[in-house]
């Protein structure tokens, strides 16, 4: 049985295909269209999924969309009704779109599918599971648990903004829901907005900024108190009530009333790209502290309701890896699985799985030998030799082709150890927001200049942003206070105390840049300001090539870890094809590019004729 899942029309459109419950392929549309968070119909991703599975649309047993549009429309109408006469501007913006297209989503999907390939419309079976059920399914079914609590938290789906479900024996029962307008995701997004980042993409920047705040300071304590006393009412079960006097997302085109927040927190909303000051960082850490408290309470409630030893998580808030690490430290559950594509893109996979196991009632079989059935999240397209050769021909590129991959890793490990930055493009592209060693930019974690070089000369992004380590799974405990795996870079844990360099006197009074450039450990480029690291454990079983490279690096240097960041520049989707990767090599100050068995040294390439105008291609995120 082949089922196609689609998420689209909001942000991060994606498609996924499963065959008899097995995940065959999944990809985000942005990777093909080169438009970050592309919300359009994922025609390219669908085409790829069908090709990978070797089926036509007519051969599909069902096409599943990741939420229920009419239920969403109900929420929209009831919200306008509830808040009237406030909300005219939002109404004027949203209703025409609904009347034109979104209300007729069935027709829209059917029409768009015609653009992908010829098919018999009458035969097509279209299914619409609920948004949070899609998230829950994306977390539970790929996990290796038979019995698990499932926690989904995001901005909003139809009505639900968070849910606690129980997965048992292949079935999912919804136990509890938090409903719009009360939402943890929207609360976090409101702070993202107020601190000058883009909603729906800047949340992870806020998470990265938070550690620059002085968590123990009076300022932060006062912000936390204001958030808890004025903005929200947090209950023991983790549910929150958001004081709508301080939020405008329900009826307006902004997240919050700027002036009211300015009065509450004592400084105006930060304008995008304006300098970051200590009070921005302090407010950032305050909302991070509150978010952690909420999700820990939710996890405790999930435990109370299900009694399970396992927790599965999905939804955009599950990408808050700092909070995930804190949940783990609470020891509420024994085992954890977090869907690597936890955001809306993962809904495409989740809705397909929900249809297979719930709608069609198929039996679930779990392979206990695997960590999970996500195949390392390497579910996207793989570049063929022909594609590589075509890119070489097009750009008259200079390269060295290796017959032996071991020889290649030996050389590349040497380049890394010399301080070079390398674009690493191998195998199938990752599904989800993280680059996990198949479309990654990599460097030496020991190099104290690496963070600066990567941020300012390669990625062209804010200097405060941290980088993550890829560590051999077997070596994880040597570097981090973390026992177990973290294959999807979704857990933040501290660097081992013995590796840390203590803060100098008066550190808390340092400015953001002084803090940033203070060496924090013997692996400084992946040690964040608070000694934490967003860990990716690399497993030979799911990514042998990447594992071999890090192993080769270890043999050369004694360190079984490297820096890993997504292969893109700011505002650009992660690279997909060899053409994208070569462009990225030539546009930035990267030193080498490795695609399959081909190595490109930047110094040997013909002059790149394009000027700096390429930067205008991408809207800064």
């Amino acid at each position: 049985m082949k089922i196609l899942g689609i998420s689209a029309f909001y942000h991060d459109s994606a498609a996924a295909i499963i065959g008899n419950g097995e995940v065959i392929a999944a990809a985000q549309e942005e990777r093909f269209t080169r438009k970050k968070h592309d919300p359009g119909f994922p025609a390219n991703a669908i085409k790829y999924c069908l090709e990978e599975a070797g089926v036509t649309i007519d051969e599909l047993d069902a096409v599943v969309f990741y939420d229920k549009p009419l239920l969403k429309f109900e929420r929209l109408l009831e919200t306008y009704y509830g808040f009237a006469p406030v909300g005219v501007s939002s109404f004027v913006t949203s209703i025409p779109t609904w009347i034109k297209e979104k209300m007729f989503l069935k027709k829209l999907i059917k029409d768009e599918l015609k653009g992908v390939g010829e098919y018999d419309v009458k035969k097509l079976k279209l299914i619409f599971p609920e948004h949070h059920l899609s998230h829950a399914a994306s977390a539970y079914y790929p996990s290796s648990f038979d019995d698990a609590a499932i926690l989904t938290i995001d901005g909003v789906g139809e009505w639900a903004t968070a849910s606690i479900c129980h997965g048992k024996g292949g079935k999912i029962s919804v136990l509890k829901e938090l409903q719009f307008p009360h939402s943890v995701g929207l609360l976090y997004s409101a702070f993202t907005y107020f601190l000058g980042f883009r909603v729906n993409s800047g949340e992870y920047k806020l998470m990265g900024l938070a550690p620059y705040g002085n968590a123990d300071s009076e300022a932060v304590k006062s912000y936390v108190k204001k958030i808890k006393d004025v903005l929200i009412d947090l209950k023991e079960d983790g549910s929150v009530w958001l004081n709508q006097k301080y939020f405008t997302y329900a009826t307006g085109l902004r997240m919050v009333p700027d002036q009211r927040w300015e009065k509450l927190f004592g400084f105006p909303r930060r304008q995008g790209e304006a300098a970051l000051e200590q009070h921005h960082c302090d407010l950032g850490v305050a909302i991070q502290i509150v978010t952690e408290e909420i999700v820990i309470k939710m996890a405790q409630e999930a435990k109370r309701l299900t009694g399970s030893e396992n927790l599965c998580m999905a939804g955009g808030v599950a990408l808050n890896c700092v909070a995930n690490g804190k949940i783990q430290n609470e020891n509420i559950f024994k085992n954890y699985f977090i869907q690597p594509a936890a955001g809306d893109a993962g809904g495409a996979l989740g809705c397909a799985l929900a249809a297979y196991y719930i709608y069609f009632g198929e039996e679930r079989k779990v392979d206990k030998n695997l960590l999970d059935s996500m195949k390392g999240s390497y579910l996207g397209p793989e570049s063929s030799e022909r594609e590589i050769e075509l890119a070489i021909k097009k750009h008259k590129a200079s390269y060295k082709k290796y017959d032996s991959f071991d020889e290649l890793t030996e050389d590349v490990a040497g380049y890394l150890a010399e301080g070079n930055v390398i674009g690493w493009h191998q195998g199938r592209m990752e599904f989800g927001p993280r680059a996990l060693g198949n479309r990654s930019i990599i460097g030496d974690a020991r190099n104290s200049e690496m963070q600066k070089k990567l941020n300012l000369k390669i990625k062209y992004r804010e200097s405060f942003r941290p980088f993550a380590p890829s560590v051999l799974a077997s070596d994880c405990e040597e570097y981090f206070e973390h026992k177990g795996n973290s294959p999807y870079m979704l857990l933040v844990h501290p660097v081992k105390e013995s590796r840390r360099i203590p803060y100098p006197a008066g550190y808390e009074k340092f400015g953001l840049k002084e803090k940033l450039y203070h060496n924090r450990s013997d692996i400084p480029s992946i040690t964040h300001i608070d000694y934490s690291a967003r860990i990716q454990t690399v497993h030979k079983e799911t990514n042998e090539r990447y594992w071999k490279l890090i192993q080769a690096f270890k043999e050369k240097t004694g360190y079984g870890l490297i820096v890993n960041t997504s292969f893109n520049v700011r505002g650009e989707p992660i690279v997909c094809t060899p053409e994208d990767s070569y462009k990225c090599l030539m546009r930035t100050e990267m030193d080498f590019l490795v695609v399959g068995n081909y190595v490109f040294n930047k110094k040997d390439q013909p002059a790149w004729k394009e000027g700096a105008e390429w930067k205008l291609e991408y809207v800064l995120d």
């Binding site: 029309f9 909001y10 942000h11 919300p39 359009g40 009419l70 239920l71 969403k72 109900e74 929209l76 109408l77 009831e78 306008y80 009704y81 939002s90 109404f91 004027v92 913006t93 949203s94 209703i95 025409p96 779109t97 609904w98 009347i99 034109k100 297209e101 979104k102 209300m103 007729f104 069935k106 027709k107 829209l108 901005g155 909003v156 719009f180 929207l186 997004s189 909603v199 729906n200 997302y249 329900a250 085109l253 902004r254 997240m255």
Partner: protein, 49 residues
Amino acid sequence: MEFLKDFWLFLKERKKFWLVPMILVLLLIGALLVFGGSSAVAPFIYTLF
């Protein structure tokens, strides 16, 4: 037609018949706004709708 059928089933399932007059009024106003509208994915700053 398929849409009307789906919508009727939806209202029945959710027992939200009280929404019908509101929907009619909203659709009427909304239909007028359509003339100045644009594509389905373009205008949203936040993706709540």
